[in-house]
């Protein structure tokens, strides 16, 4: 087991290193000049602009040699300083991101967990009879083939506009400001529902199909046949098959995280939902170096943490990894 976690840490460490480097590297090559951009909003005269330009370049330390900027970046990272956003000046990047994180968690955590649990149950259920299988399977394939943003658009149009049941923009109504009250909370949930639903449905389809295939495989395994030969009721055989089929589905979840993050991103765009994905896009469009870096970093950290959480759960539920008999075969 130590080997198992040792390998995991190595991979996560390297991934983090690589990701931070990419994170630092790429925005450097974005077209345009963020400082000039920011200053252009301030409508200053030429001299003042020049002075401020030099000041900010120095303040943002963009005049240092490249390798020093890289090291400074790591240094700042460990101090929790991700710079100041030029798009939302003068708010520090970390503050901007932390404002957005709760919305992402509120959206992603339930969507991922519920779709995984429900999708797996449903897929196992579908494998019971032929006619159930024939109806669930096409539905699953359609859902998993649906692009996240199109489902978002459809839901927004049908449920939001045509039927007028839900709002289709923002995290809460414009006339409210965040405060703790039933009115605000219910308003937030009301705005949350459509983006949640579109994330949930697409993933649900994927898990249902995956589980249906896995459980058929497990039902044909030797241990299932032996139980049947011993006259075990169908219920027990199915129970065992389901539990065993969940294991690869769990590792599958870890692999899907990148795709799910992408889905959340576009869904936020469709619904103008103020999560990190939405923020990332705005930052790119406004050429805000630091905010782009910060968003990317948060996404990476989030994915790594989620991966790690899944690894821990996996060790808890699969006795084979605990007994150290399986080396981690990627």
């Amino acid at each position: 087991m130590r080997r198992y976690f040792g390998r995991k840490f190595l991979i996560y460490g390297l991934t983090f290193l690589l990701a931070v480097t990419i994170d630092w590297l790429i925005p450097r090559f974005m077209p345009g000049d963020p400082i000039a951009n920011m200053l252009s909003r301030a409508a200053l005269n030429a001299d003042a602009a020049q002075v401020l330009y030099t000041y900010y370049t120095h303040a943002f330390r963009l005049d240092l040699p490249i390798w020093q900027q890289y090291l400074n970046f790591w240094n700042a990272l460990f101090h929790g300083d991700l710079g100041i956003s030029t798009y939302l000046f003068p708010t520090p990047v970390v503050r901007v991101l932390l404002r957005a994180v709760p919305y992402d968690i509120a959206l992603l955590l339930p969507a991922i967990l519920l779709s995984w649990l429900a999708g797996n149950r449903f897929g196992a259920f579908a494998a019971r009879t032929k006619w159930l299988d024939n109806t669930v399977l096409p539905l699953g394939y359609i859902l998993t083939a649906t692009p996240y943003m199109w489902l978002g658009i459809l839901l927004a149009w049908v449920l939001g506009i045509v039927l007028g049941l839900f709002p289709i923009a923002g995290a809460y109504s414009f006339d409210l400001s965040p405060h703790l009250s039933w009115r605000f909370l219910s308003d937030v949930v009301w705005h949350w529902f459509l983006p949640f639903a579109s994330l949930f449905l697409v993933q649900f389809g994927g898990w249902a199909i995956g589980m249906r295939n896995m459980i058929i495989y497990e039902l044909e395994a030797d241990y299932s046949h032996y139980l049947e030969a011993l006259g075990s009721p169908r219920r027990l055989v199915r129970n065992y098959a389901f539990r065993n089929a969940l294991l690869p589905q769990l590792s599958g979840l870890a692999l899907q995280l990148g795709v799910i993050v992408a889905g959340a991103l576009v869904t936020e765009v469709v619904f103008s939902y103020p999560g990190i994905g939405y923020l990332l896009l705005s930052a790119i469009q406004n050429q805000d170096y630091f905010l782009v870096q910060g968003c990317f970093l948060f996404i990476i950290i989030g994915v790594l943490v989620a991966n790690f959480a899944i690894d821990i759960v996996y060790v808890l539920v699969d006795p084979r990894t605990r007994k150290g008999m399986t080396g981690e075969k990627a």
């Binding site: 139980l227 011993l230 006259g231 009721p233 065993n244 007994k323």
Partner: protein, 320 residues
């Protein structure tokens, strides 16, 4: 216990048609009899074993009856067979090493199986432990996962599990094939002990290794290409077989102490026929040294002498 099989036909469904894997088996097994079921790969012995207890796709029941202890076994009905499984008839499968759920502790799985079958009254934790002692497994295995056990230990665990409810008939399907010779002897002896202690009444021991049968079986049933060739006591089969196939099978066994410097080990020339479209009549006739024109008809499985059954026209002449 008594087992009567009457004209059992079970075919394999494939996309190219039915493979006639078991084509008309009729025989009986007496109480306390350990019957060996021998033959080449593909002769139908495993099909026969499985048909008795788990007849499901791709196996297809065609016709025949199986009567165990006076009651007809509904072998074609998977659901109704549950009543008999493990209690009256049980199996130690060929895949015993993979037969245990890898993610469940063995003791937990056993408990869940017993409980789900509502068999708590039929057995007890003490009895389970006694059985473990019998096969020389430590009680600790109940707390382990299958992955922590060696192949031999898993096999013995399966032996315990399959016989836990004292079935009348136990089918042991190639249980020694994956073991070394010393363990083979130990396992074979355990089987006999199960019968001697009354844990099981009778047994069908399926194997292609005739020498094992010589050690443990009271009688041997030889099969060829889905049909029965000969059934007799072990002594008779080994010392004085009558069916040409049995004769060649037995004589192709190497004898201890004999050197083969002078001549090669005799095998049986030719290959078994494909059972998708088997030849008419006796399926051995293409390889049989004494085949004659009557062999294009299927020879009936008849009693030549007391307890000695043969399916060969040569033995009964052209009149049967």
């Amino acid at each position: 216990m008594s087992l009567q099989v009457e004209n059992l036909r079970v075919y394999y469904q494939t996309l190219r048609g039915d493979v006639k894997a078991l084509d008309g088996a009729t025989f009986t097994i007496e109480d306390r009899e350990i019957m060996g079921l021998a033959g080449e790969s593909g002769c139908g012995k495993t099909t026969l074993g499985h048909s008795l207890i788990r007849l499901t796709a791709p196996l297809r029941y065609v016709e025949g009856r199986v009567i165990l202890d006076g009651a007809e076994l509904p072998i074609a009905d998977m659901a109704r067979m549950d009543e008999f499984r493990m209690k009256r008839i049980s199996i130690i499968p060929q895949y015993a090493m993979n037969a245990l759920n890898p993610t469940r502790k063995i003791g937990t799985m056993t408990q869940e199986l017993i409980r789900s079958r509502r068999m708590e009254a039929e057995t007890s934790p003490e009895e389970l432990r006694r059985r473990l002692d019998l096969v020389r497994l430590p009680h600790d295995v109940l707390n382990m996962y299958p992955i922590e056990l060696s192949g031999g230990m898993k096999q013995r665990m399966v032996m315990v599990l399959s016989t836990l409810l004292n079935p009348s008939l136990l089918i042991a399907d190639e249980i020694t094939s994956a073991l070394d010779v010393a363990t083979q002897k130990a396992v074979a002896e355990m089987l006999v002990e199960f019968r001697d202690r009354g844990i099981v009444k009778s047994m069908i021991v399926i194997t292609h290794d005739v020498s094992i049968l010589y050690q443990v079986a009271d009688s041997i049933l030889v099969m060829y290409a889905g049909q029965l060739a000969e059934k007799a006591s072990t002594e008779t089969i080994i010392r004085s077989p009558r069916h040409p196939y049995t004769k060649m099978l037995v004589s192709s066994l190497p004898t201890v102490g004999v050197r083969y410097a002078e001549h090669k080990l005799a095998g049986i020339p030719g290959t078994t026929p494909l059972l998708l479209d088997p030849p008419q009549g006796c399926r051995f006739r293409d390889r049989c040294p004494v085949a004659f024109r009557k062999c294009v008809e299927v020879p009936p499985f008849l009693e030549l002498a007391k307890g000695h059954w043969v399916a060969c026209w040569k033995e009964f002449g052209s009149h049967a």
